[in-house]
Amino acid sequence: MNKPIPDDELLSAYLDDELSPEERARVEQRLVTDREYAATLDAFRDQQQRLRGLAGSLPEGSIDVRQRVMDAVEAKSTIAAAENRSGQKFNLWVLASLAALILLGVFLFLPDFGMEQAVVQNDLSDNPAVVAGKVDETVDDADLSEENEAAVVSKGIFMEAQDPIPASRQSRLERQMASGEEGDEALGSDAEPEFAAVDAAASKSSLAAADDAQPAQPNDFSMKFHMRQNEMLDMAALAGSDVEAAPEKLQQQSNANRMTRSRSAPSAPTFSKPGPSSVVQNEADKQSLRLQAGAAGESELTSKRSASESVFEEKTVDDEVDGVKVFKQLEGRWARTWHVRPAGEGSAVALFRQSLELAGCRFQLVRSSDAQSHSSGFAAGPQKDQLAKKKKGQQVDFIVTATPQQLVNLRNSVVFFADLRRLDRMLSALKADEAQSSWDGSLLPRVNGLDPAGDARVYLFNVFPAKELPAKP
């Protein structure tokens, strides 16, 4: 049975004509006898009229969000396409890794099985009855022919911890493995540096760890693989911060380096996150990775870390920042893409410029109308062409050299500008349940993770004004 509605509540519902005939009659009956009750109804009625009047009066300035919504929807579909692509890449990479592990397992266990047979055979060799007919299946220690080499290497790895094989009996590959010289080829050091945005905080600790690096265990494939990933990320960060390096020299060295590494290898996964620390194997590797990360002009690589606007992007920029030659390609920094509606006299470009000035950052504004928009790099197929056509000429890049402290300053100055703040929220809306704005949610924690007194690095910020690019610098 329904609980009877209190008379007070009935009054409110009476006003809204939401009562049954019986309830209505009950209210009307009381209104006749209870003056205070009637006065309350009058007050509610007056209030209702005033509120409706308030709703009917137009606040100054209507809004028109059509263009912004459609832009955001387009950006979202672009991001979704990129996610799909990256997801596919990631899946492929997982599959490839699994396949490699299975192969490794095959190499490890099959020869060991044979070896165990040999050991058993040797143990039992004193018993002629057991040995009969089995001698041909044992592995002869002296037989280190090429076709058995792989199996012997695997056996060496397996045995190493307990019973190292004497150097005199090791094959060439065994000796390399034991001395930690393998890896470059096996681990795919020629992988393209197509990795996600660098977590600079992690990179920094990784770089510190690299100074007193210890050689990795040669038989730990997984560990070395991750180590190599981290090295590449570290090197990208290094290259990104080393703005004074001569790009031409790096290019030459990189090309020479690539020629010596002809063996193809799997690409680094698009989604990657540096571990808490990494170990750089040796200075030569460090240098070669630096060169690879700094390789310029060969391809425009664009990848992303998440559905947010943290974007890793390599873009050819032939320019200088305050007289300092900038890499032809910028790596290891966070790029941020802003789609902004024109905001009267304060365009997005102008606002961001002011923010940079307030924050004390050095920056160079680069009109990238001649370059293909990075957005088109995310899309695939017809969408890519469509986006490229649409976005071409609308993007402005800010190459920013900033210390962590300046980045925090930048963040603090940006929030004063309503349009950029609105933009943050718009972007966060793209991530369905993101509680934080994208700036606070993705960039700021990383900034906070940096040493405020840390070195300046180069960052790339993209701005997409809806109209009116500033004059070309």
């Binding site: 509540e9 519902a13 509120l51 606040p59 028109d64 919504v69 955001a72 609105r422 929220r425 809306a429």
Partner: protein, 192 residues
């Protein structure tokens, strides 16, 4: 335009959007953006935030349009998205922001046909008082009042948007009205 043809228009635009005609969605935006904006302005007490919410709402609505079953009016569905976004927005606000939370509300402009300048000023003052009183209500009370008095929604629609029983809408509305009445009386006493 009656409710039925209004719904038919919306259905048509929705079908077109789902068929890949994104320009049809612009029609929906054009139709509802200002209504939603005004409502959100009163709920959030900040026009900039309201505009953000409206924009976010349409983006979300576009991406989730295929989930709209037509069981309710499109605007009710839209408003529910906006409502949820607004709640998130309010929760994200820092406590200090509440001190000036009315700052972003645009002054109402009363089209003064036959209204003298002094009368207009008086009306604007009254609107401001009402706005202030509204701003002092609890969030849930303000929301239900806005939905009922400004959006003109019935109890069922309000219950759907707020995801509460109709009985809760009724009691909440009554408390909101009572509270607003007290706030207005207090304001009147203060200015005397």
């Amino acid at each position: 335009m009656n409710q039925s043809s209004n719904n038919q228009d919306d259905d048509h635009l929705i079908r077109q959007t789902l068929a890949g005609e994104s320009s049809a969605f612009e029609g929906l935006i054009e139709k509802y953006q200002n209504r939603l904006y005004h409502s959100m302005t009163h709920v959030l007490r900040n026009s900039t935030d309201a505009e953000d919410i409206v924009q976010d709402t349409f983006v979300k609505a576009f991406t989730k349009l295929s989930t709209f079953r037509g069981g309710s009016q499109f605007y009710t569905w839209l408003y529910r998205i906006a409502h949820n976004s607004a709640i998130s927005q309010i929760r994200k606000r820092k406590p200090t922001e509440s001190l000036d939370h009315d700052a972003g509300i645009p002054a109402a402009t009363l089209e003064g046909h036959g209204v003298s300048p002094s009368q207009r000023i008086e009306q604007q003052e009254q609107s401001q008082h009402l706005n202030d009183a509204l701003g002092r209500l609890k969030e849930e009370q303000r929301r239900v009042l806005v939905l009922r008095e400004m959006e003109g929604l019935d109890y069922d629609a309000i219950a759907e948007i707020l995801d509460v029983p109709v009985g809760t809408v009724r009691s909440r509305l009554h408390r909101a009205r009572t509270q607003l009445k007290e706030e207005l009386e207090r304001q009147f006493t203060d200015t005397e």
